[in-house]
Subunit: 112 residues, 4 copies
Amino acid sequence: MTEPGSPDLDVHGEGDEQATHGYITDKANYLARLKRIEGQARGIHRMVDEEQYCIDILTQVSALTKALESVALGLLDDHLKHCVVDAARMGGPEADEKVKEASDAIARLVRS
Amino acid sequence: MTEPGSPDLDVHGEGDEQATHGYITDKANYLARLKRIEGQARGIHRMVDEEQYCIDILTQVSALTKALESVALGLLDDHLKHCVVDAARMGGPEADEKVKEASDAIARLVRS
Amino acid sequence: MTEPGSPDLDVHGEGDEQATHGYITDKANYLARLKRIEGQARGIHRMVDEEQYCIDILTQVSALTKALESVALGLLDDHLKHCVVDAARMGGPEADEKVKEASDAIARLVRS
Amino acid sequence: MTEPGSPDLDVHGEGDEQATHGYITDKANYLARLKRIEGQARGIHRMVDEEQYCIDILTQVSALTKALESVALGLLDDHLKHCVVDAARMGGPEADEKVKEASDAIARLVRS
């Protein structure tokens, strides 16, 4: 909803004032998951503050990492499905840029 | 149990029933990092809510994952240094259990 | 060299009987890297056989994992660039299938 | 130091200058797994050479990465169980060094 402009992106969800990058297939679902992730982060902070058992904290960190990973994979799938495919359909050099961007994002995910 | 002080670690249960695992070498530092992680999670929630560009969201997710990973590796190092080494020094079967627990936690981290 | 057909794929190296999925941008480079990876695997086998120091073996395992990861990211990039983009350009439901396949492959990479 | 035998472990330097790290609990098992890993690497090389379908190659790369990861986790567990615990029992600064080494190896694994 920020950024007026971003001329290069297709605006699904015309008429929807939020949908600047309307590629997100189930936004409410992502928002709920991210809310939960925020709560998990807060929980880990509390566990450290209370000096709970390290292994239990690590278990929570792994759970949070997995939850994040799963959000990332979902967003990436949406991105490929919408932005990359749309750019490919439009033809022109933009598809290459979109693929490059996606590949770079995948590399960051795989390495993180 | 927010502990002013804790010069570096190891309060090992000084009457405080929560402080049983005083193995965390620099608690204030972990708490600050986890606070930041919580903020990063909130930021990602906002980015999705504002439907910012997917690739930018993924970049933030990777950064958050890396920050978490780094906290996990620090906690694990503290755990090996204190709990595992202490258990080994005490002798007895507990060292084996501690190592098993640590190995399981490492496997979860590596696979998450 | 399997499957004659696969009409949707561009066949680089026409006249080359091997090029059924000619999506691989620099095959000689991949082959050289995979040869090296095979050698690294053989080296780790030897290190274990000679009971070399565990940490040194782990260092080699990490190096091999990184080398593999890098090959995987390259292949995936090629795949997006060729198969996914081509399928999108052709239109039809195949683009969706290709994206789904790619997303599944990415998930396996991120989780492995 | 190819040792026929080594029923399962722990030759701990019986006069043989190479066998110093007899920490590997089931060497024959590791060797068999690493042999298989080498075969998997060779198989991936062949798949690329034959230009098989990219997604199928990626599936094999993920399988190989998982197999390697599992070897690494096993070796690390052995290392903690033997080298780190033994060093801790001996007392002295060596335990710290062993833990540091192990933590560094874990970090490389988690990040690879």
